[in-house]
Subunit: 158 residues, 3 copies
Amino acid sequence: MTTIEARLDKIESRIEIEELVSKYAQSFDRHDRDMLRGLWFEDSVLNLGSNFGEPFKGIDNIMAAAETLWAKTPKMHHWMANSIVVIDGETARAETALDCFVIDSEDGPTQVGGLYTDHFERREGVWKIKLREFDLHYWAPVSGWSAAAGADAEPAKA
Amino acid sequence: MTTIEARLDKIESRIEIEELVSKYAQSFDRHDRDMLRGLWFEDSVLNLGSNFGEPFKGIDNIMAAAETLWAKTPKMHHWMANSIVVIDGETARAETALDCFVIDSEDGPTQVGGLYTDHFERREGVWKIKLREFDLHYWAPVSGWSAAAGADAEPAKA
Amino acid sequence: MTTIEARLDKIESRIEIEELVSKYAQSFDRHDRDMLRGLWFEDSVLNLGSNFGEPFKGIDNIMAAAETLWAKTPKMHHWMANSIVVIDGETARAETALDCFVIDSEDGPTQVGGLYTDHFERREGVWKIKLREFDLHYWAPVSGWSAAAGADAEPAKA
């Protein structure tokens, strides 16, 4: 590639990588299985930490874990922020802060915060998540939460 | 355009589009009428959903709706996240999650969540919002909220 | 520079500037002194407003202020949103909304909101923050907050 093309490629790679981070959040919030599946390689790993069980290894186990998480926590709202992305050729790393509000089947309305660390790879020209690790900072049930509107809606179908 | 120029144009278009999403949030939070007006075409539509009334058709109706919203909810804090932007020539689409805290004249301090779906067009070289639709996920008044500092301040003038 | 190179440079500058905003948030949340120090010039200024004292002038005073803030508020979670970035040659300006949750040694769990206005410069080819100003919108202690998991963890070390 020329220098110009290499600089463009790096910018476009960053856009693809940031989109993977956004799509993880939106696919979990919407229960969008197709979008979620498209983020991973067959051999990717999702490690949400000991609060959420052993690492989920392989795309099928990741998808099965999503079903388990949705069953326990039917409503999720992820808001990703402060991504720091470092691209090195065909691999990349990102650290992204999470602000999250969920309605859990056991704990009810709950505020959640943490940090995601992602390792990405580009294979056959496509960036996907190779390893996502989550560090939970807090899981805080909210007392006296009551929704005046919308809270009984199904996950958004956009 | 050359391929290089086309790739640059797409990246610059994304930056413009993401700025429209940011400016919608900041203009509503600051009551910045000039910034808000600049986001729309004369024939643009803002549809906030049935909780907020019929769709507001045309820039003048959108601006009138903003005045009504500010009168009912004088303080708003929008935080946009997880934008997924798809650009197709002179049109584009984006889905962006909302985390929002407001002080409503009737409900008081209230947590709000939802999803915006935007349709953009580029006319005469400038990207603007053609249609913005909002899906409210919850409107949850906060019990026992008390601000130790700053909450009586006017909307930020930046 | 050619036009192409100038357009690429502006896009890359925006990426560097947005990274400074993200790194401020992540370095404060993680107590990452090296990351925080790297954001400023020797003569940079951090003005958090009257609630947080006089402006901190010079990188050493900024770093000393961080130690004071961490001592009073050992846990911070900053989520930056809605950045509006304007680049003009070797200087730039950004306005970015803040959603923040902290655990304060005096007030306990507290929701914080505000707006950062940044002035950046590029010196010797590197963008850094020349002046950061903060407008506090609210500091609201949360009643009845209790964390079921993770809240006693140390700041994240990524």
